[in-house]
Symmetry: C2
Subunit: 402 residues, 2 copies
């Protein structure tokens, strides 16, 4: 007997996340790490959380905070989110909102909600690695989502049918996407929404970084555009995912989903069966902190991170060999670097670690593992001086390659 | 377009949990509720949690407590659990342990780990409703697990094969099970373990109530028996699920899985993809509270709940009509009542609610919805005086039926 002989077929598609494994290597203080997608803990709103816990664990409140609660989530938090969404052009009620244990959990539940084996999920090329991981458990086929895709929707639908399923959704992160840092402009957003309409599939909008804009004007989320066009969230195919991990703190695992009520109702059933509810205490604490400091705190983060982003863009300009290219984000936490064809990000990482600088090789962000000549740089965790030093080290490693 | 048209086939098997829906009705203070499986919030270790949060959110600690952490879980908490497990006769290392967001999440992840569509899961008849819900998402066939089952293992395996899969696991809660309150004796445990050996399937041991014994001697968990027989946890098919929800507090959502390392490694991959990790802050707080008060606190709970269990057993003796039967648990939170054949628990509930007493009808706990003439009574949330009053009300409703 060997228990792995009993494992389900879906486990064959699961492999260790390169990012999570990398995190384990990065404890050495002399490495300058551009890996990970981690907010800087120096800027967590610690005082606000400590105060929130004092209130939540007071004698009057602890009986509720430490107890079971509903699967849909803590009502005052859903009310705060409804107000926040209204500010983004998304009028909705708390009944359109479910709280999740981080937006990663929303990806898992949406896979469970929508994917039958061999259905097609349209994803960016590259896309968020964690989305591929979450969806993989439901054994989809991945096809390419691209604002510049020339294929007719019928061609995409036919390919999905030939693979034994249908196109169930397109997954897209419109603002400062992980891993590229790229933002879709309004024309690209309209084209993707029209494509989802033509394919009659759901559109999963991952807005994890939406609040972290450092330059330019805020652009309407897909869900706002669709409500504008169709009149009501109940007529919309967009399922919006939000997260407090990048704005307040990731260690509490609180995120949310906004969608038409039939989607929320079914997700609530999924959550009931999967983990009952998101931790009551965490939801109460996050509601308290969001009410108290959200806007001011996000303004602070924007200041800090925008300085770092500009430092990294300057350093790349200064230290990269001429044939290397990179994105110029307007927010978020990442810059995406493209090396000359034929170079390999993983091989480069091995040499870079010897030079005490780290990043995430880009191949993992492609559903087909292509484009190995790419890498993701994170700037949220590193001070400007260290950013300059780290990018200089990376430049030296690259020049030594040539 | 209608998004529900896109839902996966598995959603057809999901329906609202009667228990969770019932909880919403029970806010009326004049109802005496024996529904739910909720610990009494008057006995949460509030002071210990408040102190733990003060420490975890101190300036020195908050950068870690509010940050991302590893998928396998907080090492000091896994070390405490390893010691706790050793005390139950289960020698293991922290590498045999993964932290989950409550043991409900472990059930979801084990479904994901083990069940291909049409595989067979052996479950009690009745069994924990939440286990049926969690496994359902992976579209298994359910077959009956019963210590007194006369079928040869070959017959069970053949039926599984005929249904298009194989027997992947038996799911069992050996101590004061939800919903029946029944404890398996050592002979029954040995028989079930031998049956799992013969079927060469995993054995999922749900130990949610294990610490809440009020009478009699503690019995060895399946995992302890199997390690005793086979020499090492790495040779064992038992996957043990523990929870802090019934001993410390459910609102933090912290539980754990103990198993051979290849199982834990694969579960860690599943967790990475599904929700990254259990909330860091909650794990740190629970580790602190467990280290500080676990044994003393559980002793307090045993005192309180055992008084309530005895009050309910006395009240049943006094108020039930002669033809009604019930279990006599040695711990846990539940007593299981069997009404005369032909009576219907759901219909009874409607009348009981008018008499201001509530319970959970038993039919939902059977994978095939049979045995509607049963009901589950919870005694952990109700004081002895109210227990007597509530059971008296129930007795009156039953006599009015006759």
């Amino acid at each position: 007997m060997s228990l792995p002989d009993l494992f389900a077929n879906r486990t064959l598609r699961m492999s260790a996340s390169e990012i999570r494994e990398l995190l384990k290597l990065l404890d050495q203080p002399d490495i300058i790490s551009f890996a990970g997608g981690i907010p800087d803990p120096a800027y967590f709103p610690r005082d606000a959380f400590a105060e929130a816990m004092d209130v939540a664990l007071s004698e009057q409140a602890a009986g509720v905070s430490l107890q079971y609660s509903t699967s849909e989530g803590y009502t005052p938090l859903r009310a705060w989110i409804a107000q926040h969404m209204a500010g983004l052009g998304v009028p909705c009620s708390p009944d359109n909102i479910m709280i999740t244990a981080g937006s990663q959990q929303a990806l898992d539940y949406l896979g469970k909600l929508l994917i039958d084996k061999d259905d097609t999920a349209l994803v960016g090329w590259p896309t968020y690695l964690g989305a591929l991981g979450a969806f993989n458990a439901y054994e989809p086929r991945f096809d390419r989502l691209d604002a510049a895709d020339n294929r007719a929707p019928e061609e995409i639908a036919e390919a999905a049918k030939a693979a034994g399923g249908r196109v169930k959704f397109a997954y897209v992160s419109p603002d400062f996407a992980n891993p590229t840092g790229v933002t879709l402009d309004m024309t690209e957003r309209a084209a993707l929404l029209a494509r989802a309409d033509a394919l009659d599939c759901a559109l999963i909008e991952d807005a994890a970084y939406q609040s972290l804009r450092y330059e330019g004007e805020s652009l309407a989320p897909f869900l706002a555009m669709e409500i504008e066009a169709k009149g009501d969230i109940e007529a919309c195919r967009t399922i919006y995912l939000g997260s407090f991990s990048k704005t307040l703190a990731p260690g509490l695992r609180v995120g949310w989903v906004v969608a038409a009520k039939p989607v929320i109702s079914q997700l609530v059933l999924i959550k009931q069966a999967a983990d009952l509810q998101t931790a009551t205490l965490n939801q109460i604490a996050v509601a308290h902190v969001a009410q108290a400091v959200f806007d001011d705190h996000v303004a602070t983060l924007r200041d800090v991170y925008s300085t770092r982003m500009r430092a990294m863009l300057d350093a790349l300009e200064e230290h990269m060999p001429e044939e290397v290219q990179w994105t110029r984000p307007e927010g978020g936490m990442f810059i995406w670097v493209t090396l000359p064809r034929g170079m390999d990000g993983k091989a480069l990482l091995e040499r870079a670690l010897k030079a005490k600088v780290a990043f995430v090789p880009g191949g993992a962000f492609y559903a087909d593992g292509s484009n190995a000549n790419t890498l993701r740089l994170n700037f949220s965790m590193v001070t400007p001086a260290r950013i300059h030093e780290g990018v200089a080290r990376l430049g030296q490693v690259l020049r030594a390659e040539g």
